[in-house]
């Protein structure tokens, strides 16, 4: 009796399971082969990577899978996947960040390497520069008259105490670059300068680099430190801010694109590296992204000061990486005292 019932139930179950809906078979047929794929980790915003990735797909027929995230987060992920990499290309990230994860990358010298602006190309070609990003000062045009702010020294001036928009360098890579640029530009003992600067911030530290322009444009702060790209973009959106290129000089660290060592789709990754430093993409960097090109044969926007007018400082990336821990420790300590 019992076995008969069991048999009946089994038969019922078989009938039930035979009725599962189909349709997935077509999907597998449409999926691209592994050789037609590329996986990119990017810290760029979609407005930047979107058009480039799309154009790359259309031109090469390679399907690109994009994973987005913060620079540090993605580099950590690549490091954790180092044994069997999923990612082919790290697209984005400042050179300081890329340098500290240099062992994850495979060097690649693109066809256009010779046309890269001097100083932007990595010696070992561990990454390809994508765009150059000068650090600038901004001020609110309604609160500050032209000429009142001219350089880094003004940030130590008591006049602007508590009115400076500056992002936390522990969180924002560009903010750390800005701080190191300032220490490099100004004469004197670096740690004393840092102490003064923090005193002048008067405990006001923004948690995100995007907040700097907002704080200045809204009048919460009078002056701010940010990247040229960000400032130009917000200017184009109508924010009442002006850009100052510091008289003491500034840095124009590029962000880069790196080929991951052991990338599963190495050839496609190389094709992508070639593509991002191609003339077409570099033109787009200038025309659509408010950035500066890394190629000598692609002209920057005419309304911007030329690179050689920026009094570019000799920014020591290796040193910046080396002192980062010490810097952040002092930053946290001084800020902690400043707040309390």
């Amino acid at each position: 009796m019992k076995t008969r019932v069991t048999a009946l139930l089994c038969a019922l179950f078989l009938i039930l399971s035979a009725c599962a809906a189909g349709g997935d078979a077509d999907l597998a047929a449409l999926a691209p082969a592994d050789a037609e794929r590329l996986t990119i980790y990017t810290s760029h915003k979609e407005a930047v990577y979107g058009p480039i990735v799309k154009e790359f797909e259309e031109r090469t027929g390679i399907w690109v899978e994009v994973v987005t995230g913060g620079t540090g987060e993605l580099l950590e992920r690549i490091a954790s996947e180092a044994a069997s990499p999923r990612c082919d290309v790290m697209f984005g990230g400042g050179v300081e960040s890329l340098l500290s994860y240099g062992s994850l990358f495979e060097s690649y010298t693109g066809a256009g390497a010779g046309l890269l602006k001097p100083g932007l190309r990595q010696e070992a070609d561990l990454w390809t520069p994508f765009s150059s990003l000068p650090v600038v000062l901004i001020y609110n045009t309604r609160l500050v008259s032209p000429g009142e702010v001219t350089g880094w020294a003004d940030l130590l001036n008591e006049t602007w105490k508590g009115k400076i928009a500056f992002a936390d360098p522990a969180v924002s890579g560009s903010s750390y670059t800005a701080a190191i640029t300032m220490l490099t530009a100004l004469e004197g003992d670096d740690w004393e300068l840092l102490e003064w600067f923090i005193e002048n911030l008067d405990g006001q530290v923004l948690s995100d680099s995007g907040d700097v322009v907002t704080a200045v444009a809204s009048g919460n702060c009078y002056v701010g430190v940010t990247l040229e790209e960000t400032a130009l973009k917000r200017q184009a959106q109508g924010d009442n801010i002006a850009i100052v290129y510091p008289v003491e000089g500034t840095s124009d660290l590029p962000d880069g694109t790196a080929l991951i060592a052991g990338a599963p789709h190495r050839d496609n990754a190389r094709a992508f590296l070639e593509f991002v430093q191609s003339e077409d993409v570099q033109s787009l960097v200038v025309s659509d992204f408010f950035r500066r090109s890394v190629r000598v044969d692609v002209a920057d926007r005419e309304d911007l000061p030329a690179a050689d007018e920026l009094a570019l400082l000799d920014y020591d990336v290796a040193w910046a990486s080396a002192v980062k821990e010490e810097f952040l420790r002092r930053w946290a300590m001084l800020n902690g005292e400043g707040v309390s």
């Binding site: 999907l27 449409l30 979107g50 797909e57």
Partner: protein, 563 residues
């Protein structure tokens, strides 16, 4: 306890019989219903999708034809080469070429630098395209038809998809012919080709969204589809509320996805489950009710029978069961009633027999009163008779003493030989009392001598014959015969006297007991004793005789006796 376990088993069986077929039927119905619906939904979705893909392919082909024709028109080539200003002749050629599209797409002509020169769309001067990026760059590179979605970052174009062909002259690209479809035009293309509840997504060659039907705007469905495609995931799972079907259009490389709501909506399933649940519940209750009723019909009579038997076991024979019908249980109850009745009758009978036996024993004991005194007296009489030479007194005393001794012995049965010896003594006395009145003859077979018979069974019969048979003073013969006949011994006492009065015979045969003051007590006593010892069938029989009385007793010889 046994009863309740039967009840439970009965209930379980009823549930099995009542619920299982129902559940099986419901499941089968559900399976058939579901597979039919799903199959028909899938068929209709696939045919709709195929129709729309074909329609898209047709449109792309028509656009291609139109663009190709424009590229070969010398008028158009010339106008593009020179980046000529608006020329009505070129426009007329453009409209004529675009006619097959029936305004399903806008056709534009761009020069080599991407400047727009002519368009069938709205006045869009200055809506130029990049020539080194995107559509035109790709068209130049491919030297053929290019089909692309319009990038969401493209602030210039108004459409959602563009098709382009380079226009060449002598190997150099002089311009581009472009067809552009706006959201409305794409929507019109597929209008009415899919069900109301369904939605469609048009994907480009890399599965980025080109167009979605109005119900899916801002849904990110295209992103999900692409993720599933690249991760090798599934579009249709059990939990989702929709089924997805995808088909690729080969000319454009675009893919069309149809999103069809699950044909078995939640409420249908809920309704089905409710109906199934209710019918199972009803059937459950019915089973319970029937099982309880059934067990009551069977087990209540059984348990009352059980109770009645327990009462009988305790000695109460007056218990009776009601017999409500003619079914098996009622028959059983009737049989039980009859059985107890019979049992009670038997008990009464055996009590009565015990009483009778007791009475006879009492009578016999009374007859044994003070035997030693009587012995001694009789012994004295015997010796007195001898001393005084009165032989009769001496003989009578000796006989009487012997009779007395034998009759008071504790044995109930004696050998027939001994009974005959006692009878001899008795006859000797009676012969002295009634000299010459009768003759006594015995005729006993040798093999009957040792058969045990109840003590003193012959003496009352012989006495009856002597006293009643010859009471008129006549002379006669008393004959005692005994014969073995198989397992029985037949003892007959016969006289040739006056015989018994007919009423006495009738009375005896009816076993009505001796009449008051009438006599024949001995006869009745022997009859009673024989019946007590051997059973009702072994009493005395009055054998009809020509003269006198003939009394016969047929006694079974007990096993091991009578050697």
């Amino acid at each position: 306890m046994k009863q309740s376990s039967y009840r439970r088993r009965l209930l379980l069986d009823f549930l099995l019989v009542g619920i299982l077929p129902l559940v099986v039927c419901l499941s089968l119905i559900f399976v058939v219903f579901r597979s039919t619906i799903l199959r028909s939904a899938e068929t209709s979705a696939r045919s709709q999708l195929a129709g729309m893909t074909a329609c898209l392919g047709e449109t792309v082909e028509t656009c291609d034809t139109v663009l190709a024709r424009l590229g070969q028109d010398p008028l158009v080539v010339g106008a593009l080469r020179e980046s000529a200003a608006r020329d009505t002749q070129v426009y007329s050629a453009l409209y004529a070429a675009a006619a097959p599209l029936e305004r399903g797409a806008d056709i534009s002509l761009y020069d080599a630098d991407g400047h727009i020169l002519y368009t069938t769309g709205g006045g869009r001067a200055g809506e130029d395209l990049a020539s080194n990026w995107g559509l035109l760059a790709l068209a130049r590179e491919r030297e053929g038809l290019v089909c692309r979605r319009v990038s969401p970052y493209d602030t210039v174009s108004r459409g959602v998809m563009q098709l382009a062909r380079p226009v060449s002259e002598g190997g150099t690209t002089v311009g581009y012919a472009v067809a552009e479809l706006s959201e409305e035009q794409v929507g019109a293309l597929f209008a009415g080709m899919y069900d109301d509840g369904s939605e469609i997504v048009l994907l480009d060659g890399f599965w980025d969204e080109v167009y979605t039907s109005p119900g899916l705007r801002d849904s990110d469905l295209a992103v999900w589809l692409r993720t599933q495609l690249l991760s090798g995931g599934s579009l249709n799972d059990e939990t989702g509320d929709a089924e997805y079907y995808v088909e690729r259009e080969d000319l454009s490389g675009f893919a069309l996805a149809l999103r069809q709501p699950k044909p078995l909506a939640d409420w249908v399933m809920r309704l089905f489950y409710i109906i199934a649940g209710v019918s199972i519940l009803v059937s459950l209750l019915l089973c319970l009710r029937v099982a309880v009723g059934f067990s009551r019909r069977i087990f209540e009579p059984v348990s009352s029978l059980n109770r009645a038997m327990a009462q009988v076991e305790g000695g109460d024979l007056d218990v009776r069961l009601s017999v409500p019908g003619t079914d098996e249980i009622s028959q059983l109850s009737g049989r039980f009633n009859r059985m107890t009745e019979r049992l009670k009758e038997n008990l009464n009978e055996s009590v009565r027999q015990q009483q009778e036996l007791g009475d006879a024993q009492i009578r016999m004991m009374q007859a044994q009163l003070n035997p030693h005194f009587l012995y001694n007296t009789l012994d004295t009489l015997k010796w007195l008779g001898k001393i005084n030479r009165v032989e009769e007194v001496s003989t009578i005393s000796a006989d009487l003493a012997d009779i007395l001794r034998r009759s008071i012995s504790a044995q109930e049965f004696v050998a027939l030989r001994e009974e005959l010896a006692l009878l001899e003594r008795y006859v000797e006395i009676q012969k002295i009392r009634f000299p010459g009145k009768f003759e006594y003859v015995t005729d006993v077979a040798g093999d009957a001598l040792e058969v045990p018979v109840p003590k003193l069974m012959l003496q009352p019969l012989v006495e009856n014959a002597i006293i009643h048979g010859f009471e008129d003073g006549s002379h006669g013969v008393v004959r005692v015969t005994a014969r073995r006949q198989g397992g029985q011994v037949v003892v007959t006492v016969q006289d040739n006297g006056v015989g018994m009065a007919p009423e006495s015979v009738a009375r005896f045969e009816a076993r009505q007991g001796p009449e008051e003051g009438g006599g024949h007590f001995g006869l009745y006593n022997v009859d009673a004793i024989l019946r007590l010892h051997y059973g009702q069938d072994h009493g005395l029989v009055l054998v009809p005789a020509e003269k006198g009385t003939c009394i016969r007793a047929i006694l079974p010889v007990k096993e091991g006796d009578g050697k």
